[in-house]
């Protein structure tokens, strides 16, 4: 049976992990490779690296990081953040990334999804969508939820699927950072209307939230950052808890 996936997300700036990371056994809390190895050993099913740096050196640093992660880590990982061209993706995949995630660049130029899928295949193209509710309607946002677009979530998600994306990473900006649970209603609707895997993101605070997003939200995978980084939830404990409650997981 296909297992539900647990995915820690690491924010990267200039090749280093940002946001406080609370690992006592970590020699260098800013080293993404070491953190990736620890998560992998704890049973993470996949990793996402989100590059939030904006310097000129950015691409080169990110490429080096991807190469070092691929060298050490034996589970799949996705790289996202500022990816806007076929050339960007080509370089990241050649360095060893399994998948790339695009967000703003897809909203600005939806044809990019088709171009990437044609060249690299659906399996490695994840489209990340950030959305929040405005007057009861889910609206796609850019720049970490700061800038609303004219696009409605469900229409955009459908278009993303039709253009060939292999997966959607949906972050609810209404839930992100609240630790109040995932946006399960919107997630369940995405799963119902689409036929590609949906990764839930934004709102993880406790184990029950993961449970709910897999059952009520019908999510195929759940992504979180701080609850893992600050060891509020251990990945192994979480997966054992999910298994006990009848959710298929890899242990």
């Amino acid at each position: 049976m296909l297992a539900k996936r647990i995915i820690p997300c690491l924010d990267i700036k200039d090749g280093r992990t940002v946001k406080g990371v609370n690992f006592i056994d970590l020699r260098d809390a800013g080293d993404p490779v070491e953190l990736a190895e620890i998560y992998s050993k704890e049973g993470a099913d996949e990793l996402v690296f989100l590059d939030i740096s904006a310097t000129e050196q950015k691409r080169k640093t990110l490429a080096e990081l991807v190469y070092h992660v691929a060298e050490k880590v034996n589970i799949p990982f996705t790289v996202g953040g500022g990816i806007s061209s076929v050339e960007d993706v080509d370089m990241l995949l050649q360095k060893g990334a399994d998948k790339v995630s695009i967000n703003s660049s897809a909203v600005k130029n939806p044809q990019l999804i088709n171009d990437l899928v044609a060249k690299f295949g659906s399996q490695c193209i994840v489209v990340a969508i950030d959305a929040k509710r405005i007057d009861g309607e889910w609206i796609v946002h850019l720049i970490g939820g700061k800038v609303p677009t004219g696009r409605k979530l469900f229409e955009w998600a459908k278009e993303v699927e039709e253009r060939g994306a292999g997966e959607i990473l949906f972050t609810s900006m209404d839930h992100d950072g609240t630790k109040d649970g995932f946006a399960n209603e919107a997630l369940a609707r995405l799963s119902k209307e689409l036929n590609i895997p949906i990764i839930a993101s934004g709102g993880a605070g406790n184990m029950q939230h993961f449970m709910d997003t897999f059952t009520i939200g019908k999510a195929d995978a759940a992504l979180a950052a701080s609850v893992f980084h600050f060891k509020e939830i251990g990945i192994k404990d979480l997966k054992e808890n999910l298994k006990k409650n009848g959710i298929p997981v890899r242990l």
């Binding site: 034996n74 360095k95 895997p197 195929d220 890899r250």
Partner: protein, 193 residues
């Protein structure tokens, strides 16, 4: 031991090279026919779309020599699918090593299948010390149905071939290079053949 990963321009092969490196071996990436023929172990990777991958393989002439190789050969993911008779994806004629035809999952399930699924009914030395129902990592929209060459099954919509074997030819639908400790063990078993 000389390990050659066939480099015909089809997708990310860096991860396979690294996985072999983690086991303490060095693999060579090559599209040179002589080099492939003289390897002790050959790995035939592939991601992306079947017909374009097959075109690249034909352009390099490698399609002609693979079926005649005598050393252990491991096809991974699309590599395995191209070793079958045909694929429904892009109406592609395969290498005809495994006597089965690759078809697409229906819309009854989410396509592609992405993630960790279980393998069972393990029937080959490459699964030595791998427990029944072990999880392995897959990403695919097309699958090889169960057939005489099936050496591992997995279930998604229906039971299909997670791995195939005929003589010295092996194929895994899953990515051993991305399947954590279990995947590393399977790769090691292959290199031990």
């Amino acid at each position: 031991m000389k390990i050659v990963i066939i480099n015909y321009g089809a997708g990310n092969i860096q991860s396979i090279k690294f996985a072999i490196q983690r086991l303490g071996y060095e693999a060579i990436l090559s599209h040179d026919i002589k080099e492939i023929q003289h390897a002790d172990k050959v790995i035939f990777p592939g991601v992306g779309e079947a017909s374009s991958a097959m075109k690249k393989l034909r352009a390099s002439g490698i399609d002609k020599i693979i079926p005649d190789l005598k050393q252990p050969v491991l096809g991974i993911c699309l590599g395995m699918q191209l070793m079958c008779n045909s694929s429904e994806e892009g109406n592609t004629k395969g290498l005809g090593i495994f006597n089965t035809d690759v078809v697409k999952f229906s819309n009854a399930v989410k396509v592609p299948q992405i993630g960790w699924n279980q393998i069972s009914n393990l029937k080959s030395g490459i699964f030595k010390e791998i427990r029944n129902n072990e999880h392995i990592y897959l990403v695919h929209s097309y699958y090889a149905p169960l057939c005489d060459a099936t050496i591992a099954e997995s279930e998604y919509e229906l039971s299909y071939s997670a791995a195939l074997q005929k003589d010295n030819f092996y194929g895994t639908q899953f990515h051993p290079e991305k399947s954590s400790e279990a995947g590393a063990r399977i790769l090691q078993n292959f290199l031990n053949l």
